[in-house]
């Protein structure tokens, strides 16, 4: 039996109910509501964590792919292409760059909105195939970076003829 050190009567009653149910679990057939509840809590937490992570990741990416490779597209407005760094190794792709601090204010300037972020960023992706490093192409236009990542010949699926 589990003992709950609590003065809350209703809670204790619930806890007892939980214990009974847990005795039922002994056979491994009846689910434990407490475990279910904590699992639910974990799931909900993870949902919010994922959202928070998604919002904080910069730059935002779109990824297309086919049998021959992948195309990545990232929203990175207002960057000097020389400050963008793309590294490819095996199946890993890393974007790095820096957005300069563009606040143009002196003592007399009043800042009404300051929403555009600045600073350095980095994002690494693991692709499901190795990349033909020499054939990677990157292009920056209108604030969108587009990287074409061809799949290396060695990692492409091979068709094997079956002989009799």
């Amino acid at each position: 039996m589990l003992v709950y050190f609590t003065t809350n009567k209703t809670f204790r009653a619930d806890a007892r109910k939980g214990d009974e149910m847990m005795l039922g679990t002994w056979t491994g057939i009846v689910a434990n509501p407490w475990r279910e509840l904590s699992q639910l809590q974990r799931d909900v937490n993870r949902l919010f964590d994922d959202q928070a992570r998604c919002r904080s990741s910069y730059p935002l990416l779109n990824i297309w792919s086919n049998d021959d490779g992948a195309v990545l597209s990232a929203q990175v407005p207002g960057i000097d292409p020389e400050n963008l760094n793309i590294e490819v190794k095996g199946n890993l792709v890393r974007f790095e760059g820096e957005r300069p601090d563009a606040v143009e204010a002196d003592e007399k300037t009043q800042i009404h909105r300051c929403e555009r972020g600045c600073g350095s960023f980095s994002r690494t992706l693991r692709l499901p195939f190795d990349v033909e490093t020499d054939a990677v192409k990157a292009n920056y236009r209108n604030g969108i970076l587009r990287v074409t990542l061809p799949r290396s010949e060695a990692s492409k699926p091979k068709r094997i003829e079956v002989t009799q």
Binding site: C54, L61, S65, E115, N142
Partner: protein
């Protein structure tokens, strides 16, 4: 400190307005607004928008910036993962002082729109001559 009366307000649409549906997603661009002694500067991030698909207008002191993304999906590829979508950027601000509409300049570079709005020349108090009838 009390907000100065020159503070820029974002234009709010009327609450009673009917709900509208759009045929494409509309985004609110991240924006910086500076008020200098002689001008306002509005800088908006609009990634994927080029010079031909951006519009800036000023009407009744309401500045509206609009832009449409123009990047096509690569041909022959399937979209596997999307964190942003193509669509339209739109945002409006109410400018509380008189501005020199002739002197407004807008530039878009690398997906960043910049609008410089000079303040109107200060006009001294005008005295009106009263003529005898």
């Amino acid at each position: 400190m009390k907000e100065k009366q020159t503070a820029i307000e974002e234009k709010k649409t009327d609450a009673v307005q009917a709900e509208t549906t759009r045929d494409e997603p509309v985004f609110v661009p991240d924006t910086d607004i500076y008020e200098h002694e002689d001008r306002f500067t509005v800088i908006a991030d609009m990634p994927g928008v080029d010079q031909e698909h951006v519009a800036v207008s000023l009407e009744d002191r309401v500045l509206t910036v609009e832009g449409r993304t123009t990047l096509e999906a690569p041909e022959g590829y399937d979209l596997r993962h999307a964190e942003y979508a193509d669509g339209r950027f739109e945002r409006s601000f109410r400018i509380p002082v008189d501005v020199n509409t002739e002197g407004i300049r807008a530039v878009i570079n690398n997906g960043v729109l910049r609008v410089d709005i000079p303040r109107a020349e200060k006009q001294g108090p005008r005295t009106i001559k009263v003529e005898a009838a």
